[in-house]
Symmetry: C2
Subunit: 378 residues, 2 copies
Amino acid sequence: MTQDGKVTQGNEAPEALSIEPWPIQRRRRVRMSDVAAAAGVSTTTVSLVLSSKAGSSIPAATQARVFEASRALGYRTNTIARNLRVQTSDTIGLISDVIASTPFAGAMIHGAHQAAAEAGKLLMIVNTEQNREVEAKAIDTMHASQVDALIYATMYHRIVEPPEELREAPWVVLDSRTEDPDDSWVVPDEAGGAYAATRHLIEAGHRRIGYIRDANHHPADVERVEGYQRALAEAGIVFDPELIVADRNQPIGGQEAAAKLLQLERPPTAIQCFTDRMAMGAYRAIARAGLSIPGDISVVGFDNQSQIAPWLEPPLTTVQLPHEAMGRWAVEHLLRVLRGEIDGPRQQRMECPLVVRESVAPPRDKATQSSGHMRGTS
Amino acid sequence: MTQDGKVTQGNEAPEALSIEPWPIQRRRRVRMSDVAAAAGVSTTTVSLVLSSKAGSSIPAATQARVFEASRALGYRTNTIARNLRVQTSDTIGLISDVIASTPFAGAMIHGAHQAAAEAGKLLMIVNTEQNREVEAKAIDTMHASQVDALIYATMYHRIVEPPEELREAPWVVLDSRTEDPDDSWVVPDEAGGAYAATRHLIEAGHRRIGYIRDANHHPADVERVEGYQRALAEAGIVFDPELIVADRNQPIGGQEAAAKLLQLERPPTAIQCFTDRMAMGAYRAIARAGLSIPGDISVVGFDNQSQIAPWLEPPLTTVQLPHEAMGRWAVEHLLRVLRGEIDGPRQQRMECPLVVRESVAPPRDKATQSSGHMRGTS
DNA sequence: TCGAATTACTGAATCGATTGAGTAACGCTG
DNA sequence: CAGCGTTACTCAATCGATTCAGTAATTCGA
């Protein structure tokens, strides 16, 4: 307090600001000092009581007075002021290339959200439309709001090179990989998922299994093919290159590819597809050929797209992409880093579980020879 | 400044904090005072220059020095400090009941995002899983972070009663309505969309048009039926109640309902469906009946679900839900309120445009009589 | 050449919560 | 009853940018 009486006194409670004509009524916010005054204590005490971090020495009676005053006034701590003081925002930033236009984004964001909420953190989402400039600005904004950590999310599995600006805080790549072994990322275990699907077919008795791959050989495509081949190899089935056909990742692509497979001299008894969308096309080709699923041909997909897989006829056996789990893992990883529980990068491949529905059965011609172990194995 | 030399001096630049073993290197943040020192001016000047709101009186030379220093040091204004001072967060909160599990959420969020970004605002998204308690907490968190305004979003059109806490700041309901005429909301113009679809069928020459509605009579269902009936009435077609069948909003529901319509003594020549998912089932029923689309039966859907409508065979003519436009409208409405350009509530029904694909053609038996005006009209 | 106006800045209060340092009052021990 | 340790608080600095209220220096008109 200075010599002259004129001391700081800005906290005088300006009138509830204006009477707006239409009921928005932004009432003046209650400050901690208001609660302090009402309870007859200092703001320090209020802070101590409300954050209940003082196991220290506030008697129950005082605590009760503070809580009561706080409740009565409808006090809510001003997060902005708090954040400024404690130098954190309790927020994790999520930068994604495309929020809309993919049904998977929701699941990823949902998982991340859950994990963040459980830890009392917020998730701040910005999407960049694949625009490098927007991206830089977004990252800047995030840092300006003091995000504790950042998630760099993409909407399908590929190899990315995140911008330098990211590295100012702990960060992780979600649903893509980088090439630097010092970076952390989480991706679906594509190979494992495809392996499980192929194995499911093999266990049903199939030995001639067609595979429809994407004509774009990005990581997801390449790794799924690897899983398929590994399963064949383990079962002692010689890989026949003629059984792999590539096409566009669309129903029409799947349809054309499946048609080719069916026209082979020795057609497959089962067809595995890169995605559910391609499987949708395969269904059509099979129907056109006068064959039935799974009686004549078994089919498996990949992605477990909720708008497709359960609704095809018969419902499609497919592999689930673990978007929610990945979103959750990303946040949990960052929390661990923030707590100092981790001292190096982590790379995670998240399991893709097989979802068994009704599109797989033993092959017709081998139905007898392979009885004993089939269906519902996994 | 006090008598004894010991003055505030917290701003001394603590060492770049610690050397972490693993490259996270959170370098000390550059403050405005650092820039001021480097440029040889006061923080006031820096602030004035950087916010360039002083057309006032800073000579170009000084401005240049400030910009240069700022760039050289990599200065970025601390949003938290700024927000505390200016008493706003430049953030709009979006509370939604279900972010995941619906392919529409993305579009809505995307539209809102875009509009917010254009105005230099952030969007803070929280999802509540339809849990009233989580919802209250989320709203509290939002207010605690001083959001400028709030969006209460739901994932399909219904009647909601938003919690009282919402009303502390400007707010709007997105994709649902309330019953209070003082509230603002934006919903799809369901009736208009259905009307357009029915009209499209009528213009192709159909006069006996079946309609598959949802067995749950929520607003979307009721209003679409209204649109259908209005189009019939306008065209002077007597409404035949036997042509409306209700079932579950799933492919199987659509299939069963369509089958019923086809078994009528005088079956319809076209079938309009409550959703694309039901249309998907209708396609199957029509195929089972040995009929073709659109040769024997025309079909229209509703929703324009990206994972379904374009991929059916033939591609489905349907009505687009304006999720992105609604998200955008919600934010723009709030911005207008914040700028004081609006003095009362607004209720908006957003147009649902018809998306013409290939599932509609003139009815076979009337192909001659109605030639002249058909297809591609809208 | 004086005073007013303009230009080019700066000092310090301010937003609201947190927290390190401190103090008054009390009980207890020797 | 001096002195120490608790208990129960309070003071005021602090986070970093914004902005009101100045001030010193210069220009300009009369």
